[in-house]
């Protein structure tokens, strides 16, 4: 009898193997939990990998204070359900200085509230490995990254000098202060993620489904008015539109799409006929050419 495994079953097995390898080899791992669909899948895989034990590492959320409110509620619920410790970290200095996406520009804001905050959190807890939900199909510099991606003591990525990564043997060795970013979803595509969510019934933040929500139109993008901190430009009015999100981040930096897709099947259908990539909804990536690689070299996930 020969049962051929399906594509998703193979992806699942590959990810589980990566998750276990980190736990077996690293001293103090953590899972970066960004609350989006990829994080949801990664968390689900972790629960499968270590069942019947809960995943033997905490979740870390770097809270920029500008996340959608629905995301925060969802985060707390999921951590509790998985029986995992949830750590959150905010760059206190950034908050004290009032750094926000409007006055400081998205790139400085991202640097302070995401990249710096992440580095602070990793140093504070002394993590030597951090799981991230990035996929190689997301962006061209990600397609170049190893599954076990080495970071210097300053959290920098050196894309021109990555360790060779042969078969599924991972060189996990780091010196004190150095660390690994590990990407269990490296070989998943956006379609795989949705399909897996669908077959495994994985809960996701409701913002992925279409609903009437308050938005303003800004530079051709739809920005949701999630709370009263969004300063309206002259002439801008908040209006109700039927929208959803293909990717979730900080609400002022994440563009919505108009959509009627309120079921998973609708979402997948929409994705299959989409003409733009999911990252086009990330307002920060357009700042400068090669901006993702640059941010990653500086320590961004």
């Amino acid at each position: 009898m020969s049962n051929r495994r399906s594509h998703l079953q193979r992806l699942e097995a590959e990810s589980i193997r990566i998750l276990r390898e980190v736990v077996a080899e690293m001293k103090n791992p953590v899972m970066l939990y960004s609350i989006g669909k990829d994080s949801s899948v990664m968390l689900h895989l972790a629960r499968k990998a270590f069942y019947p034990a809960p995943p033997p590492f905490p979740l870390l959320h770097v809270d920029t204070t500008w996340k959608f409110r629905e995301m925060i509620a969802f985060r707390d619920r999921m951590a509790a359900e998985a029986g995992m410790r949830l750590l959150t970290h905010t760059n206190a200095q950034g908050v004290a200085e009032g750094v926000n996406p409007f006055d400081h520009g998205s790139s400085y804001y991202t640097q302070v509230m995401k990249t710096d905050a992440l580095k602070q959190a990793l140093d504070r807890f002394g993590f030597d490995a951090a799981f991230g939900g990035a996929r190689r199909d997301e962006e061209k510099s990600r397609s170049k990254e190893r599954v076990f991606s080495f970071r210097s003591a300053a959290h920098g990525w050196d894309p021109k000098n990555q360790r060779p990564e042969l078969w599924s043997i991972f060189n996990t060795r780091v010196k004190p202060g150095e660390s690994m970013r590990v990407f269990p979803l490296s070989n998943w595509t956006e379609l795989d993620i949705w399909q897996y969510i669908r077959t495994e019934n994985i809960p996701i933040v409701p913002l992925y489904f279409a609903k009437e929500r308050p938005v303003v139109e800004r530079n051709g993008a739809l920005v949701m008015v999630d709370d009263d901190r969004l300063p309206l430009h002259p002439g801008e009015v908040s209006q109700m539109r039927r929208i959803r999100f293909r990717t979730l981040g900080c609400y002022p930096l994440t563009a919505a799409v108009e959509s009627d897709a309120d079921t998973l099947d609708d979402i997948v259908t929409e994705m299959l006929i989409a003409r733009t990539s999911e990252r086009s909804g990330r307002l920060i990536d357009h700042d400068e050419a090669a901006s993702m690689e640059k941010k990653k070299r500086e320590g961004y996930f």
Binding site: R4, H7, L166, V174
Partner: protein, 628 residues
Amino acid sequence: MNQLPSISAPVVDYLENHEQKGLLRFLTCGSVDDGKSTLIGRLLHDSKRVFEDQLAALRSDSRKHGTQGKAIDFALLVDGLEAEREQGITIDVAYRFFATDHRKFIVADTPGHEQYTRNMATGASTSDLAVILVDARKGILQQTRRHSFIVSLLGIRHVVVAVNKMDLIDFDADRFAEIEAGYRAFAESFGFDTLQVIPISALQGANIVERSPQMPWYAGPTLIGHLNEIDVSSDDAGRPFRMPVQWINRPDLDFRGYCGTIVSGRIRPGDPVAVAASGQHTRIARIVTMDGDVEEAQCGDAVTLTLTDEVDASRGDVICDPKARPEIADRFSAHLIWMGDQKLVPGRTYAVKAGKQSATGVVSRIGHRIDVNSFAQDEVDSLSLNEIGFCDLALSAPIAFDPYEVNREMGSFILIDRMTNQTVAAGVIWRSLRSADNIHRQAVDVDKQSRAIVTGQKPVALWFTGLSGAGKSTIANLVERKLHARGRLTYLLDGDNVRHGLNQDLGFSDEDRVENIRRVGEVAKLFVDAGLISLVSFISPFRSDRQMARTLFEEGEFVEIHVAAPLEVAEARDPKGLYQKAREGKIRNFTGIDSPYEPPQAPELVLDTVALDAEALADQVIRYLGLD
């Protein structure tokens, strides 16, 4: 090629169909600039994997960095690093994904540049098929051969040779035939299961998805046509069961699960299994998953097994078919692809990772190096970056393995430099060195313990390390005198003296320094065996070499003593005038000047030669030995 569903078509059907498609993992390789990245960019574009925003970015990139004037440079879709775009070459592997109506593909686009061969090997190690590009104008080059060799070495059985840039040679059938014949002749010895040669133009998309009207003389399949149809399956599930234990799941005292990925065969509850190293027998009790226990698991599955008996198995052990077990050995021969910037030093200790097993080991012999042009076997005493050699390895502990050609997962390993933590080699195991099993050590009746009883002392090796001029010889001398005065049997091995006798054939290159220390370590070990306190006074600048020496001894027998002096101080003392000569360039590879000294990280003793004089320091050693 990639039919998108109309919105009215039931998405469920589409997904189900999509989910049932098989996956093919392949890589593109070949010499620099042969058009690998262009080909992948073309495949992504033609399979509608490029979105509008990415296409807009590609157009503007092409104007800025492109190699095709104002036209689209498809390579820029794949060459994602800043440095790659600036230099117009690929540096590291890109993993990209696309699908046709028949299949899904993961393609690794690898660099052609020789300097980045290790990244090509990275891409090849997880592929089932290789597309080797050849520039029709240039024909088969050294890199074509090197990559073909690596492809074959890593066990890829299916090869496509894409003769590219046919547009630049007027789609000349004769030239194509000539390249095809040349490649087939040279690749014959590899015995690939399939070898398809296809004339293409990556730039124009000729014979990639659509048949090219300019090459009516070519009757074979298009590239995609071939990739859609080729059968690369192997019956891994039909082979003997192997599961390397990756992690033990122990949430409470009642559950002990062995987690790992099955690398060959299949298993059901009740099946008999054995632990490869210890030979213990047991049976599979349950195959546990979050969705409930399952009745069967097979090759590729990441599982959690429970066993019917308490057995001693931890990470690295292999649970296997009791009737067809892997080999267990600490010595084997293997092909190595050297990937370190520093060359291979035989005798130096490297960390070895083989599957989930970790050990340390040395390359005990380099059989030969393979000349990638002629495939001749050269005799060499080292391997440099990107060279391939056939070597013998000796590990600190036995591992369980199968030859690579029988089982890729069970026969592969990497070597890691323990200082820099760089991965310095990829290895594929050929076979165990059985001869070692037949040289049983001569059993002796009078052993170390009985001799120690006669001498009435605990034999140890006192290993003095430090810069030239730090005071090693002076202190070691004093220590020996003091021991002698206490009626202890001693023997002092001094660097300079040994270099005049036993090691007079050795110089000061890295290889010779390693050998120097190895021999002295062995001699000191014999003295310890003889019941003596042996004192070794050697600069021994490399941590890994001292570590190697340490592994020769039993716990507590090796006492590493760092005779510490800052370089300025040692240089100021310069008792033999050597520092001055080194500074003047009259001596090469002088420790501290143009060769590094790596201080011990956790020595048993540190002697501070700035704070105290030699007498006091010698007393410290005596105190350490409890002989004061």
